[in-house]
C-alpha cells in the first residue's frame, strides 16, 4: 500500500527523463498508466464484505510520524475517485496539452498532487496527513502557475497558496493540539478518546482551527475566492484538482472527524451554516460569470457548500447523501470541465457571450453536456445521478430533527428554504451553461477558431464520466452495496445503510425538487430582467476586493511600520535598545526585590580618591560640553589617565601601566584620525532630543550603578581567587599573580586576546589599503 502511495512520487522523479522523448511519444501516456495501476490495485477492495484495512510503515517513529494507513470505506471512495478521475484526466490531457508545452513540469506536478492526495485520504497519522495536505497546496500552486507568463496565473497561484496554506497551518495547530491532548498521532485512537477532546477547555479553538483548514481547502464561504482564480490552470487541472479531488480534501477531513466533532452543537451551527451560505452564494454568483470555467468554478463552490452543509447536519440520512453526492459531483462536474476544455480548445474562447449555437458544430460534446448539466441541475430524470443525491439533500434538510435550541433551532427551520433557494440558482446556472454555449444563435465570426468536433481521444474521458452519470442513475445498487454504504458508515461512525430509489412518492423532497424546476425555469428565462441586481450585490464590495486590499495592505503597512523605526539611524536604534534594557531590567529588579544597599562591606572613603573621581566626572561631562574637537579628545585622555591613577591606588600596578600606554596611544590615534577629517558642519540637536538623550543615558547609568551596588552588597560566596594566590607560584612559577593568571591559568583568554589584536591589525590594514575599486577616491 505504501508503494501505491509512493508510486506517483517515484514516477515523478523519472518524468524529466521521459519528457526528453516527448516529441515521439506524449509524456501523458506514461503518466496515465500510474493512476490506472493504482485504481486497479484498490478496486480489489470493493465488495459488500469490505472491512477496513490498516498498514503501518515507520518513517520517523521518534516524532510519532509514521505512514499509518487506514483504508476504510471513506478512504476507498476517495482513492477510487482520485485514481479513476486521475486516469481520465491524464488521458484527456494528452490531447489537451500540446507537445510544445513544458510537459515534464506539468506531469511532475500532476503526479506530486496525485500522490499527496492519496496520502491525505489514507493517512491515519495526523502529521503525515498534514504533510500531504501542504503538498497538495503546493502542487496546486505550481499547476495554477503552469502558464506563469500570464499575470492572472501568477495572481491565482499566489492567492490559492496563501489561502490554502493559511488553512493548512491552522489545521496543523488543531491537529497538534488534539494529539497533545490524547497523546497519540493516530486519528482512530484520537476518536476513541473523544471525550478528552470534547471536554477540553480549548475545544472551541480546536474546532475552529480544524474547520479553518477544511473550509479554506474546500473553498467554503468566505474563503472560496481562490477557486475562481485557480481556473488559470490548464483545464485538466481544473477538472481534477479544483473540482473532483483536491477541493474535496476539506470535505474528507470533516467527514473523517465527523463521528467525534458532530457531537458538538457548535459543529452543527458552523458547518451547516457555512455550507448553506456557500451553496447559496456560489450558485448565485455562478449565474453572473461569463467565462465557462468561471461558471463551473462557482458551481463547484456551491456544490461543495451543499456537501459541507449535509455533513454539518450530521444526521444519518444527510451523511449518506453527502457521500453519495461526492461521487456524483465528481462524475458530472469532471465531465463538464472537460467539456469546457473542449469548447475552449476547439473554438479558442471560453467567453459565453461569444459562444452559442455550438450544438451543430460539436454534436457529441453537446450531448455529453446536456446530460452532465441536467444532472447537476437535479432535473428529475431517472438516469441522472445528480437528482438522486439532490433529493436526498432536500430530504435530509426537511426531516432533520435535532433536539436543539437557540440559534441552532432557528437554523434548522431555515435550512430547507435556503436549500431550495440555492438549488434554484444551481438549476439556473446549469441551464445557463448548457443553453448559453450550445443553443441559441451561433456567431462563428467572433470566435478565434472555426469550431469543429473534438478529436475522439479528447471525448473519451468525458464520455466515460457521463456514462457513469447514467449508470449510477439507472442502477444505483451497483455501487451502493459494495461501495457507498461503506463510505457512509465510515463517515457516520456506525452502520449507515440505505436503499436508493428513484420514486419516493409525493414526499416533501419531491415537491421541493419540482419547486426548483419551476422557479428555476422562470428565473432562467428571465435572466436579462433581473441580472442588474448583481450591480448591487455584491457590487463593488466583493471579497476579492477585500483579499486584494489585504495583500496589498500587508505589504504597504509592513513597509510603513518597518520604515518607521528601521530608518538606518544609529541614534534611533541605540535609543530603542537602551529603553528596552532600562525598562525591563529595572522592572525585573523591582519585581524580584533585587536592590539592596549595604554599607557594611565597603572600604573607607579617602579624600584623594574622591578628588580623582570628581575630576573624572567633570572631565567626562566635559567631553560632551567641549565645542572643540581637539579639546574633547584631550579631555577624554584626562578620564583615561584618571582611571590609571585609580588603578594605582587600588593595587593594580599592571593595569595602571597598561592603561597609561593604551590611553596614550588611543589619544594619539584619535588626534591623528580627527585631525585629518575635514571640519564639517556643526551638529545641532533640538532641545527635546537632548532631553530625551539625557533621560535615557542617565537611566542607563543609574541602572548600572544600582546593579553594581546591589551586586556588591550581595557577595554571597568566596571568590575563586584564593586558588590563584595559593597556586600562583606553586603551579604557575610566578610571583605576579595577575601575570600568572593571564599567561597560565587563563592562557586561552590571552591567546585569543592576541588573536583579536592580530585580526584588528589585518582589518585596519585592509581598510587603509584596499581602495582600488572605489572611484570616489
Amino acid at each position: 500500500m505504501l508503494l501505491a502511495v509512493l508510486l506517483p512520487f517515484i514516477i515523478a522523479i523519472f518524468i524529466p527523463f521521459l519528457s526528453k522523448w516527448k516529441h515521439k511519444l506524449h509524456t501523458g501516456f506514461f503518466v496515465t498508466a500510474v493512476p490506472v495501476v493504482i485504481f486497479i490495485y484498490f478496486a480489489r477492495f470493493i465488495g459488500p464484505g469490505f472491512e477496513p484495512v490498516e498498514r503501518e510503515y515507520s518513517w520517523i517513529p521518534s516524532l510519532d510520524m509514521n505512514f499509518l494507513f487506514y483504508l476504510d470505506g471513506l478512504s476507498l471512495l476517495f482513492i477510487l475517485l482520485i485514481s479513476g478521475i486521475g486516469s481520465l484526466v491524464a488521458f484527456y490531457s494528452i490531447y489537451y496539452l500540446h507537445k510544445s508545452e513544458q510537459l515534464g513540469h506539468f506531469y511532475v506536478y500532476f503526479l506530486l498532487f496525485m500522490g499527496s492526495m492519496l496520502g491525505i485520504v489514507l493517512s491515519d497519522n495526523v502529521y503525515v496527513l498534514y504533510t500531504f495536505w501542504e503538498f497538495t497546496s503546493l502542487s496546486s500552486f505550481l499547476l495554477i502557475g503552469f502558464w506563469n507568463h500570464r499575470e492572472g496565473s501568477r495572481y491565482g497561484a499566489l492567492k490559492s497558496m496563501l489561502i490554502t496554506v493559511f488553512g493548512g497551518l491552522s489545521l496543523l495547530g488543531g491537529l497538534v493540539f488534539m494529539s497533545g491532548i490524547t497523546g497519540t498521532a493516530s486519528i482512530q485512537e484520537m476518536m476513541s478518546q473523544q471525550e478528552l477532546i470534547l471536554n477540553h477547555d480549548f475545544f472551541p479553538l480546536i474546532l475552529t482551527l480544524i474547520l479553518l483548514g477544511a473550509f479554506t481547502k474546500s473553498a467554503q464561504f468566505p474563503f472560496h475566492i481562490w477557486l475562481p482564480d485557480a481556473m488559470e490552470a490548464p483545464t485538466p487541472v481544473s477538472a481534477y484538482l479544483h473540482s473532483a479531488t483536491m477541493v474535496k480534501a476539506g470535505i474528507f477531513l470533516v467527514a473523517r472527524f465527523l463521528p467525534m466533532l458532530s457531537v458538538s452543537e457548535w459543529f452543527f451551527i458552523i458547518v451547516s451554516a457555512v455550507g448553506i451560505a456557500t451553496l447559496c452564494w456560489g450558485s448565485y454568483m455562478a449565474v453572473r460569470q461569463t467565462d465557462l470555467k468561471g461558471i463551473l468554478a462557482f458551481s463547484t463552490i456551491s456544490q461543495l457548500g451543499m456537501i459541507m452543509a449535509m455533513l454539518g447536519f450530521g444526521t444519518k440520512a444527510a451523511i449518506f447523501a453527502a457521500v453519495f453526492h461526492i461521487l456524483n459531483h465528481a462524475t458530472f462536474k469532471g465531465s463538464l470541465f472537460m467539456i469546457a476544455g473542449i469548447v475552449d480548445h476547439e473554438t479558442g474562447s471560453r467567453d459565453i457571450r461569444k459562444l452559442g449555437g455550438l450544438m451543430t458544430f460539436l454534436p457529441i460534446t453537446a450531448t455529453l453536456a446536456v446530460i452532465a448539466s441536467f444532472s447537476m441541475a437535479g432535473v428529475p430524470f431517472p438516469f441522472l445521478n445528480g437528482f438522486y443525491s439532490k433529493e436526498m439533500f432536500f430530504d435530509a434538510a426537511v426531516t432533520m430533527d435535532l433536539s436543539v435550541t437557540g440559534i441552532a433551532a432557528t437554523l434548522q427551520t431555515l435550512f430547507p428554504y435556503l436549500a431550495v433557494l440555492g438549488s434554484i440558482f444551481t438549476f439556473v446556472y446549469s441551464m445557463y451553461f448548457f443553453f448559453g454555449t450550445f443553443r441559441g444563435k451561433a456567431n462563428i465570426d467572433e470566435l478565434p477558431k472555426k469550431p469543429h468536433e473534438a478529436p475522439a481521444g479528447m471525448l473519451v474521458s468525458p464520455a466515460i464520466l457521463v456514462l457513469g452519470v447514467i449508470i449510477i442513475g439507472l442502477f444505483p445498487d451497483l455501487i451502493n452495496k459494495p461501495f457507498i454504504e461503506h463510505a457512509a458508515s465510515a463517515a457516520y461512525g456506525s452502520e449507515n445503510v440505505k436503499d436508493i430509489y428513484y420514486w419516493h412518492g409525493l414526499s416533501p423532497a419531491f415537491i421541493m425538487s419540482i419547486t426548483v424546476l419551476v422557479f428555476g425555469t422562470i428565473l432562467y428565462l428571465s435572466i436579462p430582467k433581473w441580472a442588474s441586481i448583481y450591480n448591487a450585490v455584491p457590487g463593488r464590495l466583493s471579497l476579492n476586493t477585500f483579499y486584494d486590499g489585504l495583500v496589498e495592505r500587508t505589504e504597504r503597512y509592513s513597509t510603513i511600520i518597518t520604515n518607521s523605526y528601521m530608518n538606518g539611524s544609529l541614534g534611533r536604534y541605540v535609543r530603542l535598545i537602551l529603553v528596552a534594557i532600562v525598562v525591563v531590567t529595572f522592572g525585573t529588579m523591582a519585581l524580584t526585590g533585587g536592590f539592596t544597599l549595604d554599607f557594611g562591606n565597603v572600604s573607607e572613603v579617602t579624600l584623594h580618591e574622591v578628588l580623582i573621581a570628581v575630576v573624572m566626572v567633570i572631565a567626562a561631562i566635559g567631553t560632551i560640553i567641549a565645542k572643540n574637537r581637539i579639546a574633547a579628545i584631550l579631555i577624554l585622555g584626562v578620564v583615561g589617565y584618571g582611571l590609571a591613577m585609580l588603578f594605582v591606588l587600588y593595587r593594580a600596578p599592571d593595569l595602571a601601566l597598561t592603561q597609561l600606554i593604551v590611553e596614550t596611544v588611543t589619544v594619539a590615534l584619535f588626534l591623528l584620525v580627527f585631525y585629518h577629517l575635514p571640519n564639517l558642519e556643526p551638529h545641532h540637536e533640538s532641545s527635546l532630543t537632548k532631553a530625551m538623550n539625557l533621560i535615557i543615558s542617565v537611566g542607563y547609568g543609574l541602572l548600572m550603578t544600582m546593579v553594581a551596588i546591589s551586586a556588591h552588597s550581595h557577595k554571597m560566596f568566596d571568590t575563586m581567587s584564593s586558588y590563584f594566590v595559593d597556586n600562583s607560584y606553586k603551579l604557575g612559577g610566578g610571583d605576579n599573580i595577575v601575570n600568572v593568571i593571564l599567561v597560565d591559568f587563563r592562557g586561552l583568554d590571552t591567546l585569543f586576546e592576541i588573536a583579536v589584536l592580530g585580526i584588528a591589525a589585518m582589518a585596519i590594514f585592509g581598510l587603509i589599503r584596499l581602495r582600488g575599486k572605489n572611484k570616489e577616491e
Binding site: N567, G568, L570, G571, R575, L597, V602, S603, T606, E609, A613, M616, A620, T623, I624, A632, L636, V639, G640, L643, L646, Y650, R651, A652, L655, T658, Q659, T666, F670, V673, F674, L677, L680, H683, E685, N693, L694, I696, S697, G701, L702, M704, T705, A708, H712, T719, M720, S721, F724, V725, Y729, D735, I737, V738, I741, R746, E753, A760, I764, L767
Partner: protein, 112 residues
C-alpha cells in the same frame, strides 16, 4: 568607596551613552571609549577595593587584592584597544567616503 566608584563608573556610562547618542561621529567614538572606561572600573570595583596588597607574591603578606578581576580587566583593555583602533580607522574611512561625519546623514537606503 566602592559605592562612590560605582557611581563614578555609572557616570562614565551615562556620559558615554550620551555621547553615543550624538550625531557627530567623534562624539560617538568618544562615547564608546568612556563606556569601556566605565566597564573596567566596574570590574575593578566588583573585586572589592583595597583589601590587601597588590597581587604580587611577597614574603610575609597573605592578604592580596583579588587578582582575577585585574586579569580580566587587562584582557578587556587590550581587546577594547583593538576595537577602538579599528573603529577609529573605520570612522575615518566611512566619513571620508560618504563625505560627512554626521551619523544621521549616514542612514542610507542604497546597498550596492
Amino acid at each position: 568607596m566602592e559605592i562612590i566608584m560605582a557611581v563614578l563608573a555609572g557616570t562614565l556610562f551615562t556620559t558615554g551613552v550620551y555621547n553615543l547618542l550624538q550625531k557627530q561621529l567623534l562624539r560617538i567614538v568618544i562615547g564608546t571609549a568612556l563606556i569601556s572606561h566605565g566597564a573596567h572600573l566596574f570590574i575593578l570595583t566588583m573585586g572589592e577595593l583595597k583589601r590587601g596588597a597588590p597581587p604580587i607574591l611577597t614574603d610575609g603578606i597573605d592578604q592580596y587584592t583579588d587578582p582575577l578581576p585585574q586579569a580580566l580587566i587587562l584582557t578587556s583593555i587590550v581587546i577594547s584597544f583593538g576595537v577602538t583602533s579599528l573603529l577609529l580607522v573605520l570612522a575615518y574611512r566611512a566619513s571620508k567616503i560618504n563625505g560627512t561625519d554626521n551619523m544621521e546623514q549616514l542612514r542610507g537606503n542604497d546597498y550596492e
